[in-house]
């Protein structure tokens, strides 16, 4: 956890952040391909030997990725064998996907893979073609012999893709039939991750492929226990959790987009404070705007980081209220204890207490998208009441700033 915290703090320094991005962008294990030893380009010889029009086509024309350790020859064509121990570079890529937009292109080729040396009785696990989903699954199957059928979700993880329907009945049926899975095994069952269930109709899959869907546990790490217990998951294995660590790893993707919008807000505040009857004075601008720039960063950290991390400990069920309450607490502390926020003008104190808790609330509400328990009806309800308040609060804040300027200029 300390590690993640460390990364987030670094992310707040834009310059340092860019340097890190540069370093991260030089290492890209997903893109480095290697031909299999002796075999040359994948699928070649075996494919032509069996010479079938009905054969599965090879997705890796230019050679296999690093994590393919071997190739199994089957009557239906070759199947790449995936390693079940993740390398440091792969774990680093996971971190990078958590922190940056790298996750948008962190995908593997859909198709059939193997771990260990599976045979006609081995289990078939279904996964998405988001590399992290596939990596976590293959690492969980360490020491086992199994098939992994990776379906095309556009490089999106199982749960998110299931919500959109791309991890769904159509794609699954298409892959099962297209990869000729029925020819490879004697049994007729597939293990689909439970979090894929929102997109998959087990009844339809059975009807259209003959394969019975068994929903595996929520977390891939529970798969060995699930198998040992005769393909039964305990109620705990069926529950999605949302621990502090779960929440923490999601906060960079809340902070990053918000950080990008911060300069606009700071520019606007500089403009307001620099504006004088005689023109724009940037010396005054910097001094006047400093607390507001700091306030914006404070609201950002409160709404997009502290609220998610402390989620269950903050009163109220509504994310908007949680974010507002914590924002209010933070900024009440600021105006009473931090000299930068101890304004002479009551207008500025009022702006601080109106605007920043609302900004924190708005950012906290964004975290509903990353949470594992909010529902659409609830989010709509929060926005129905929240949006007018956010818009009203912003208007009031500008009016208060205008009042402050009028007062400052001595017009009244």
């Amino acid at each position: 956890m300390k590690l993640y915290h460390h990364w987030i703090v670094i992310c707040l320094h834009v310059h340092v952040r860019e340097v890190i991005m540069k370093i991260l962008n030089t290492i890209d294990p997903a893109q480095s391909l290697k031909p299999l030893q002796g075999g040359g380009a994948c699928c070649g010889p075996v494919l032509s030997m069996s010479g079938g029009a009905a054969m599965r086509s090879c997705p890796y024309k230019g050679g296999y990725p690093e994590w393919v350790t071997d190739e199994i020859t089957t009557a239906e064509g070759p199947v790449p064998v995936a390693a079940t121990v993740l390398t440091t570079a792969e774990k680093f890529a996971h971190l990078r996907a958590r922190l940056t937009n790298f996750r948008m292109r962190f995908s593997i080729e859909p198709g059939l893979y193997a771990v260990g040396s599976p045979d006609r009785n081995s289990d078939i696990f279904i996964s998405a073609n988001y590399t992290m989903s596939f990596d976590i699954l293959r690492a969980s199957l360490h020491g086992m012999n199994a098939w992994i059928l990776v379906i095309d979700t556009g490089g999106i993880n199982v749960w998110c893709a299931a919500g959109k329907g791309t991890f769904g009945t159509e794609e699954l049926v298409k892959r099962i039939n297209g990869e000729r899975i029925a020819m490879l095994v004697d049994h007729r069952k597939i293990i689909v991750p439970q979090l894929g269930a929102p997109g998959v109709s087990a009844g339809q899959v059975k009807k259209r492929t003959g394969f019975r869907v068994l929903y595996g546990p929520v977390r891939a790490e529970d798969i060995p226990t699930y198998i040992e217990n005769g393909y039964t998951a305990s109620p705990a294995m069926r529950r999605i959790r949302f621990t502090m660590k779960d929440r923490l790893v999601l906060t960079p993707m809340e902070l990053n987009p918000a950080m990008k919008k911060l300069p606009y807000l700071i520019f606007a505040v500089l403009l307001v404070f620099g504006l004088k009857p005689e023109g724009i004075m940037f010396r005054d601008a910097a001094a006047g705007a400093a607390p507001f720039a700091a306030g914006a960063v404070g609201a950002l950290i409160t709404g997009a980081f502290l609220t998610p991390v402390l989620l269950p400990f903050i009163p109220f069920r509504s994310f908007a209220l949680k974010g507002w309450l914590l924002g209010m607490a933070v900024f009440l502390l600021m105006i009473t204890h931090v000299p930068l926020f101890m304004f002479e003008s009551d207008y500025l104190t009022a702006v601080t207490l109106v605007f920043f808790p609302l900004l924190s609330s708005y950012l906290a509400l964004q975290f509903t998208g990353a949470s594992t328990y909010t529902n659409l009806s609830g989010v709509k309800k929060e926005l129905k009441y929240g949006l007018p308040v956010y818009i009203g609060g912003t208007v009031i804040s500008f009016l208060l700033l205008a009042a402050y300027k009028i007062h400052e200029w001595g017009i009244l």
Partner: protein, 98 residues
């Protein structure tokens, strides 16, 4: 952790239930349990409207207005005049863009 009270759209018709247990299997929040051969709903406030139960009920016993509880998606929908959409246009999104 529970979300807002009494907002979930989950409805269940016990008379259609055959007791197959699929809903109990797929629900990630333990909303369903089995009692005397039929599914029963426990705490509805735990429902996140993912739709897994309805999708996997072959007997039409469960209805839920399924969707993703993501503020950015709902705001996107309002701005574009469409249904809530997780498609944030590529690079700008929060975690709901996955």
């Amino acid at each position: 952790m529970k979300y807002l009270k009494e907002t979930a759209t989950l409805t269940y018709s016990p008379e259609k239930c055959t007791g197959c247990g699929r809903c109990v299997e797929v629900c990630p929040h333990n909303v369903f349990s089995m009692s005397s051969g039929k599914a029963v709903i426990g705490d509805r406030d735990r429902c996140m409207e993912c739709g897994a139960c309805a999708k996997n009920c072959d007997f039409g016993a469960i209805y839920v207005d399924a969707g993703v509880g993501c503020a950015a998606a709902v705001i996107n929908g309002i701005l574009r005049g469409t249904e809530p959409s997780c498609d944030c246009g590529g690079t700008s999104g929060s975690a709901c863009c996955c």
